[in-house]
């Protein structure tokens, strides 16, 4: 679960990035497909929606309803977009990654055995 320090957790980060990539009116399903396409792993719609809900609560995501077409039985579509706070959260995530990776080259890292 993401901490309360404004840095998104790893799945939160994936969802935020997918929303950012999609640009044009993203909603739950396209977010899900975007993550699947980029990560190659199956993602459940329940997880995406739950994460979107949570980030909505944190103010990283804003949403609006859009009238649906026939393929969805006329049901509304919930379009999401990043808020400035969401962008800030992504920036924090990237900064954290870079700080953690700074000066590290995987070739020089040797795994150590766990002590019993």
């Amino acid at each position: 679960m993401g901490g309360d320090d404004g840095v998104p957790g790893s799945f939160e980060e994936q969802v935020l990035l997918a929303v950012a990539h999609l640009g044009e009116r993203p909603y739950g399903m396209t977010v899900r497909r975007e993550i699947e396409a980029r990560s190659g792993a199956a993602v459940s719609i329940g997880a995406v929606y739950a994460t979107l809900d949570r980030m909505h609560g944190k103010g990283w995501i804003a949403s609006a309803f859009e009238t649906g077409d026939d393929a969805r039985g006329g049901r509304a579509r919930k379009i999401v977009r990043l808020t400035p706070e969401g962008v800030e959260a992504l920036r924090k995530a990237r900064d954290l990654h870079s700080r953690m990776w700074a000066g590290l080259d995987l070739g020089s890292v040797t795994p150590t055995e766990e002590e019993g």
Partner: protein, 873 residues
Amino acid sequence: MSGRSDGPPGLAGRLLDLLDREEARGTLRGDLDEEYERHVRPKLGTRAARRWYWRQTLASVPRLLGRRVRGVRFGFRGFNAAGDLRRALRALTRRPGATTAVVLTFALALGANVSVFSVVYGVLLRPLPWADQERVVRVHPDELFYIRLAGAQRFAREVTSFASVVPWGRTLFTFVGDGRGEEVRGGLVQWDHFRMLGVTPELGRGFREEDARSWPYDVVVLSHDLWVRRFGRDPTVVGRRVDINGRMRTVIGVMARSHVPIEADWEAWAPLPLDPEGVAGTALAINARLRPGVSIDQGARDMRRAFRTIWAEDGETTTPDELAGIRLVRLRDYMLGDVTKPLWVLMGGVLAILLLACANVANLLLAQGEGRSGAVAVQLSLGAPPRRVAAQLLAETAFLALGGTALGLWMGWAIVHWASTRLPAALPRATDIGVGLPVIAFGLVAMGIAAVLAGVYPVVRTLRSGLRHNLGAAGRGAAERPGRAASLLVAIESALACVLVVGAALMLQSFRALRHVDPGFEPEGAVAVRVAPPPGRYDEDGARTGLYDRISEEVGAIPTVGSVGGIMFLPMSSGGAWSRYRATATPPESPDDALVASFRVVLPGYFETLRVRRLQGRSFGADDDGEAPRVAIVNETMADRLFPGEDPLGRLVYRGPDAQTAYTVVGVVADVHQADLKEPSYPEIYFPYAQSPLSRMYVVARTHGDAEAVLAAMERAILALDGGIVLSRPGMVADVVGATVADTRILSTLLGLLGLVALLLGAVGIYGVTAHAVSRRRREIGIRMALGAEGGRVALRTVGLGMVPVAVGTLLGVAGAVAGGRVLSGLLFDVAPTDAATLLAVPLVLGGTALIALLVPAVRASTIDPVRTLRDE
């Protein structure tokens, strides 16, 4: 759309619609449908796509449910109840053994409580279905205190405190026709009997005044059970004419199943006449309803004044003491009097078991808490608020209690269900017993209190030791003294177990003593069948005598029957008849000069068959017939009372107020316990059947064969004489005697069981505390052994330390048993509540049990390997 065979599954869609209340626009379902149509089905095909749709739907359920309950999120600031409960549940499943032990202990104790309470509630606490039951009273409930209808009517005119005065007597209804004949016990009641109780029949009507104008009675009211059994719930039974005691009478009503008759075995009612002439010889008792605003004491004063006036008019004088001895009691208290104390004693017993269970659970939680204080310390030092940690620990206890409650309620229900067909016949209101709402409420409250008693202190302790712990020492052998709390619990357990075992031992001794009481006859090997001749054919005295003579002959001819006889009322079965007797023909100066005695009419061979010892004179013979002079046999008590210090043989006994009839005493027999084994024998006089041919007799036989086979053969032989005879069986006389000690037997069995459970729980508790103390002091013991202490001494010290709280608790328990012994006084027989032998023996038993429980931890302590212990450290 959902109708299409290649469309998304309609059921899954509807499930989403149902749950997706907040997003009324159905965005989730829309997304899924769209995805299904545009991407998933074209790629995977219909079948796989539909499976995909279901998977997605089900994966969304937790989130949707979570959104729905978010509005009612429980807990308060600093707490997250749902999270605490989840973590608690996880913590418990990690310790399946301890969790099961606690839940089972709670469940067993609660099950016992729920089952006993369901009886206490149904029988004692639930109000009787009468109007204003507090005002319904009975005048002096005593078999020897009876009144004739004329007297009762005078009494009713004399008193002013009662809204109604209702005399009643017991009677028998022999139903014939409609198949097998059947004899039913019931009441002969004044017509306003039901009105006085404030009850109405569920079918038809109750008695009216005009029903009492004719005698013999013309109408009857049936009980619900009799209606079901004999009339197959026929709703048209009201108005039907049925043959009862040889006359056609009209059924006018059926009482509801919930009706509680004033005598437990009544199944039918008939009205007493208004005119006392027809029932001049019938002995009656009196029930009454107090006027509103009149206290029972005022009513009693009024009642005594009325009796004094009536007796004075009859020229009888009564001393103030005698008058004061006439009691007025609430009918409810009288009806439930015999079972009230045993039930409360049992209730106390099971509550003690619940307390013991609490102590054991508290012990276990304390021991566990010590093991976890390190983990708690870590949580606290990482910044978890203590309130939060406490909440989680309490949540664990709450779960344990909840599990125990669910299982315990089920167990209680199962016990009640099982016992419902095995309750003693003497228990009134047995049909009112069940696990209803009040019983469940009791279970919940009892368990709530138990959970607080058992759970809160261990949580506080764990938290406190967690706070005290600094991280550096967490989990390392901080050797404390054996826990004072644990010792206290052991002491409490020992005290409770001691009280319970003393109670059980006293009851068991009473039961054993009762079994050794000489009933005055030999019930083993004797069987009895009640014979009611069909009305009409045997109304002549000679015909009746002839019938019983032939029955005796036929039964005596059965090969396995050794001897045969008969009696009007079998000893220790219900029923009795009383008269006043004097040794002189002159009228007495006071009514006390006449001796009230039970009289029983017997067939020849009765004393020999039941083996009633003959002390003097002879038995009845064939010569003592209607033509011969009237003879009687008296029991020892009657001989001593009527002819103190004199030879009773050949003396005359006068019967009735005017000494109309005189009998010559031809024999004296040993006293027979007439009511039960506890009651001493009262004066009794026997008459030969041929001289007083009453209609219904018990035919008794002594047999050396299989009792069932003999009973069947007897019934065949009797019915072969006349198929219209109505038979009912007490069966084996030993069972009749056994039934009179059933209350003591059941109570002593149940208390014995509770005593055993108490011992077991106590032993488990003592074992647990000591085993825990030993494992906690491994290091200390190891060091001492490394310094040269012998194993034997270590074991002895362990036992010694373990025994201290047991000894203290047992002493307290003995003191408690002595103080509370009075509770049992009315239930005990031939043993004092402060029986010295019991009070000495029980502590020894407790000590022995404790020793056995201490043995394992003691041996374990003595075999601690110092080297390994220290290396482990």
